[in-house]
């Protein structure tokens, strides 16, 4: 039981980070970022290249992942999303753009990094063993702690800095924020870059444990969508709850139903649909997003 709970915390912390980036982008621009999973994969590959291939220290490689994704996110927002949002009659057109970007990033990953599964050397050796009831490799514990630290500092950024206040204002009401003197264009770009950066950071963290491959992008996006739906779209606390809940459900389901294979995911999907039928806006969401 302790093992299952520890696995849940570990999965939940990572999932929460993925969902945070997605929900931030959604809250700010009303864009459902299909390319989020691909950004996560790119983050993983950047860390793989720097840490796994060139031997740069892990923390520095992580920073490189963040920087790369932040720049990528800023460029995508500035030159693609912002003009399309201005020019389209229905705002759903951004979904086509997001899907196009997802395809594009997939193609770039395929050309640059290839289709093989990649892994990096362990960042820490040894296994934490508490009476054989709770076994956890040290590197997983480290990654989990790093993820929690990142989430806490992200919340701190949103709550206590000027940028965070501007972003929250933008998420609440775009027009009102503009009237109060918030530079909407600039902060949209910063917000998108921040969301992409979070995806890159998780990718960089997880490459040390699960490795990274091209096919992970789509699956990650779907999981991120589920977490955002559980918690409520566009709400930061909701994304964290969604991540933790999905993490625990997966940990418990895989432990109890491992012999049935994919049944766990089927059950999670079905319970999600039932949950959403009862509470369409998720746990914390505003009605009708």
């Amino acid at each position: 039981m302790e093992q299952i709970l520890a696995n849940g915390v570990y999965l939940g912390a990572q999932y929460a980070m993925i969902a945070l980036g997605l929900t931030l982008i959604f809250a700010l621009m009303n864009v459902l970022n299909f390319a989020h999973g691909q950004m996560y994969v790119i983050g993983g590959f950047v860390t793989y290249t720097f840490y796994g291939q060139w031997g740069v220290p892990f923390i520095l490689a992580l920073v490189m992942s963040c920087v790369t994704l932040a720049i990528l996110g800023a460029l995508i927002e500035r030159f693609l999303f912002a003009p399309v949002i201005k020019g389209s009659a229905r705002e759903e057109s951004t979904m086509l753009l997001a899907a196009g970007i997802a395809f594009f990033l997939d193609a770039v990953i395929l050309l640059v990094f290839g289709e093989k599964q990649r892994g990096v050397p362990k960042i820490m050796d040894g296994v934490f063993n508490y009476d054989f009831r709770l076994i956890m490799p040290y590197d997983r514990i480290l990654i989990c702690v790093l993820a929690i630290v990142s989430i806490v500092s992200f919340i701190g950024l949103m709550q206590y800095t000027k940028t965070g206040r501007a972003l929250r204002a933008l998420a609440q009401d775009r027009t009102a924020a503009q009237l109060m003197g918030v530079n909407v264009d600039r902060y949209s770009m910063i917000g998108f870059a921040l969301g992409a950066m979070l995806a890159g950071l998780v990718g960089g963290l997880l490459v040390t444990i699960t490795g990274v491959n091209l096919g992970m992008g789509g699956a990650t996006s779907i999981k991120a969508f589920m977490m955002v739906m559980i918690g409520g779209a566009g709400v930061i606390s909701g994304a964290i709850w969604g991540g933790i809940i999905l993490g625990f459900m997966e940990a418990i389901g895989l432990a109890l139903l491992y012999q049935y294979g994919d049944i766990t995911y089927l059950l999670i999907f079905i319970s999600l649909m039932i949950f959403l039928a009862i509470r369409p806006q998720g746990l914390m969401g505003k009605p009708w997003g």
Partner: protein, 326 residues
């Protein structure tokens, strides 16, 4: 009754002549028989995309058409292989089954709106794929293969539809069948959009609360529309399974659901024939780029991004950007 202008008559006439006479002549002259398969696929995907377009018409983003296409493909395959039905009866049965499933699932999930509906339909695709893997009747990951070709139908000794297995050129037969079903689908869609129901749908697209407050039964309409939409999905999927002669859980995946949605976006959400054009451009474009090998995806996605960057309202918006057709 609907009134058509002369221009519309001529347009439809030209279109029919092109697909039924022009295309076979050109293909016969150039000898590129493989294009039949591509065009048949386009026609079938356009049928499923028409369904997605219809849910857009009531203001919902539907990324779940792959689920219904897969359901349709499986129902038809199971009826033909295990129950020994004729394909031509299993085809509407597959569509109806998909529609019934859509009603059952739609009752709860159609209450969702905006991105919530989009995301739940995306998840639905995944659910159906996983269900197909888990159920015994669908044969799991091995799928159902060796589906026989459609057999002939004869009434009172008169042959109405020939036996596909006895034909020399099944590609041409499938092409004609797919085109006829596609034309029927779009005729039905056009009729529906220009009917009373279509007006009610437009009112829902603009504002559901307002429509409801002036007496539109929105919960009834959205179920009906979703069922029709899924019927098209099931129809397209069943026909696809019959042409490929096999169905696997991976026949229609999340990527296919997204593609159906992209077809509608690209063609333009304001035009009935938008999804047809979108499917043609996307599928044909993808096929043409095959020669570029590993750069296929890169070029394809770049073109896609450029199109949406400069024509955010769809391809058909070039022609109608003033005045607006509908």
């Amino acid at each position: 009754m609907l009134k058509f202008s002369l221009k519309q008559f001529v347009g439809v006439g030209v279109f029919l002549v092109i697909i039924f006479i022009g295309v076979p002549l050109i293909i016969g002259a150039t000898g590129r028989w493989d294009i039949y398969y591509t065009l048949t696929s386009v026609a079938l995907l356009a049928i499923a995309s028409a369904g997605v377009w219809l849910t857009f018409y009531i203001g919902r983003i539907n990324i779940g058409q792959g689920a219904f296409a897969l359901i349709g493909a499986y129902v038809s395959a199971i009826l033909v292989v295990k129950a020994g039905w004729s394909f031509w009866i299993s085809l509407p049965a597959a569509g109806l089954f998909a529609a019934v499933v859509a009603i059952l699932i739609g009752l709860p999930i159609l209450r969702l709106r905006g991105v919530y509906f989009a995301m739940i339909t995306l998840v639905l695709t995944q659910v159906v794929t996983l269900t197909a893997l888990a159920l015994p009747i669908t044969n799991g990951a091995r799928g159902i293969s060796n589906i026989p070709l459609p057999s002939g139908i004869s009434v009172f000794g008169m042959s109405i539809l020939p036996d596909f297995a006895a034909m020399e050129n099944t590609k041409l037969a499938f092409y004609y069948t797919a085109c006829i079903i596609m034309i029927l689908t779009y005729a039905a869609l056009y009729r529906l959009v220009n009917s009373r129901l279509g007006h009610l749908c437009r009112s829902m697209q603009q504002n559901e609360e307002l429509a409801s407050s002036i007496g539109v039964n929105i919960s009834y309409i959205r179920i009906v529309i979703f069922a029709i939409s899924s019927f098209f999905g099931g129809l397209g999927g069943a026909m696809f399974g019959s042409i490929a002669q096999s169905v696997y859980p991976s026949s229609f995946q999340v990527a296919d659901s997204v593609n159906f949605m992209l077809n509608c976006f690209l063609g333009g959400l304001g035009y009935v024939f938008g999804p047809m054009l979108g499917t043609l451009v996307l599928y044909f474009g993808w096929d043409l780029l095959f020669e570029f090998g590993k750069y296929q995806m890169l070029i394809y996605s770049t073109v896609l991004i450029i199109i949406i960057r400069f024509l955010p309202n769809g391809l058909l918006s070039i022609r109608f950007n003033k005045g607006g057709d509908k």
